[in-house]
Amino acid sequence: MKQNFLFQASNISKYYGQNIGCKNVSLDINPGEVLGIVGESGSGKSTLLNCIYGNLEVDEGDIFLNDKSKTILNFTKISEPKLRLIQRSDLAFVHQNPRDGLRMNISAGGNIGERLMAIGHRNYGEIREIAANWLEKVEIDVSRIDDKPSTFSGGMQQRLQIARNLVTRPRLIFMDEPTGGLDVSVQAKILDLLRNLVRELGIAAVIVTHDLAVVRLLADRIIVMQNGNVIEAGLCDQVLDDPQHKYSQLLVSSVLQV
């Protein structure tokens, strides 16, 4: 096993009864690296993401995280309190639908502050200042700090969700179709924002998407999935420019050109 990795999953399998969720998937992520997972609907992308985040219990395989103190933790072995602590400090999860990741009846400031308060911040002034800073970073007007996310547009909600997740400076962020369901210009804005934040803060990321343009823009490496299996993996440009597997070729060739 390499020593400088951040996150590693080896031979992950997840079954839904007779059906395969994902099978024998291995991946590793280095600090600051962005990994894209692409594939068609139902290919097991989200299952894999939820498994490696610790939301879903895996049937086979191990998941390792090299934590801040350089100890290697195995997600399948550690206790639930420990896992939940890691999920809200070292890791973060951005949902496709911001409604799943935000508390809609709590103000934008409260949404950003929640993770801070969860790890022990008890000073209102400080929490509010940090929240205001993050709103600025994700280009939401600071005067909206006390407004509820339900009054925000879809793009703003997604940016708020990103701020809420990044506020505790996680080292690895999981994103499930972060730009799905948004119109193209808003998508571009969010991608731009994500690219800047990820590079600036040196956060590693795993992005699940069916949009090849998104991975082209953000990812360093990608894996291509079909029917729960990884069929191709490699550097992003390499796979997208010279796909080897039949399905990857189909995927790349079916991107619509304007």
């Binding site: 409260g110 929640e114 969860a118 209102y124």
Partner: protein
């Protein structure tokens, strides 16, 4: 007169002592013991149908019923008052079913059942205070999933509780929560103190009396044993403040007891009186003695 007392005796014979049967009381006592061992932890119990609707204190009544012994002196208050509907009906219920002595004096009572107040008179050792609790789960309106809230309690994940206080300050400039103000019991479980005004929160801390909480509809019992640390949650820069209306009682003149606001005329004139009727009477008596 003779006829009537005969009838009352008949009524007493119909019911087991304090209404509930002995097995039920044993079940509740077991839950109470567990609750006392783990301060602030909500113990599920098999709440019974009581001869009154939910919301009338069925949880508190079951706890009282399980604790009562024949030589107990019972006091029942509703919002601090001994003479309001809820207090009167529950007091009558136990007079009828347990034939125990009743009192309005806080210092004379060995068991006090209360709705939404803690008496002003300091409680002593060997007194039991039974709270009627509508919603035992302090996280209920923040996290609707019961499975999740139990997990949050088990893992002491209370960040969300602070989000509520944050929202208060963001909206109102101060912590607006004025009743059912969440507390941390024995440095561990966050507990709902039932809807007592936050003015009463400091009285829960280090109290010599046993504090028992019964929620009938929600089927939960929890407890704070005597001399337990009870801390109201707050922020470093917005510390907890016990507050009350800044007036004097217009009957006894007391300025340090919790006051009810009463509108006394059509043009909106207000008057303030002690919510604790027993305390108000005591103060009035003291005042008249001083004048003599």
């Amino acid at each position: 007169m003779n006829e009537m007392s005969k009838n009352e005796n008949l009524d007493i014979q119909i019911y087991n002592f304090a209404y509930l049967d002995e097995n039920t009381k044993r079940m509740i006592r077991r839950a109470l013991l567990k609750a006392l061992c783990i301060p602030g932890y909500q113990v599920p119990f098999s709440s019974r149908e009581m001869p009154m609707p939910y919301g009338w204190g069925t949880g508190g009544i079951q706890v009282t019923s399980a604790c009562l012994i024949p030589k107990d002196v019972l006091k029942v208050i509703d919002q601090g008052a001994d003479d309001t509907t809820n207090a009167v009906s529950i007091r009558k219920f136990f007079q009828k079913t347990a034939n125990v002595a009743v009192t309005e004096k806080t210092s004379d009572a060995s068991l006090i059942q209360t709705r939404h107040r803690i008496p002003e008179t300091k409680l002593k050792e060997k007194q039991i205070l039974v709270y009627q609790v509508p919603i035992p789960e302090p996280l209920r309106f923040l996290e609707p999933r019961e499975v999740e809230t139990r997990k949050m309690h088990a893992l002491s994940e209370y960040g969300l509780m602070y989000v509520k206080l944050y929202e208060d300050i963001a909206k109102h400039g101060h912590i607006e929560t004025a009743y059912a103000y969440p507390v941390k019991t024995n440095g561990n479980y966050v507990t709902d103190p039932s809807p007592i005004p936050k003015f009463d929160n400091p009285k829960m801390n280090n109290s010599p009396a046993i504090q028992l909480f019964g929620a009938g509809r929600e089927q939960r019992i929890y407890a704070i044993p005597p001399y337990t640390n009870v801390k109201s949650l707050d922020f470093e820069d917005y510390p907890f403040e016990a507050m009350k209306a800044n007036f004097k009682c217009s009957i006894c003149g007391s300025s340090d007891s919790y006051l009810d606001e009463i509108i006394v005329s059509d043009d909106g004139k207000r008057s303030y009186i002690c919510s604790d009727t027993d305390y108000c009477k005591e103060q009035t008596k003291l005042n008249s003695k001083k004048e003599d």
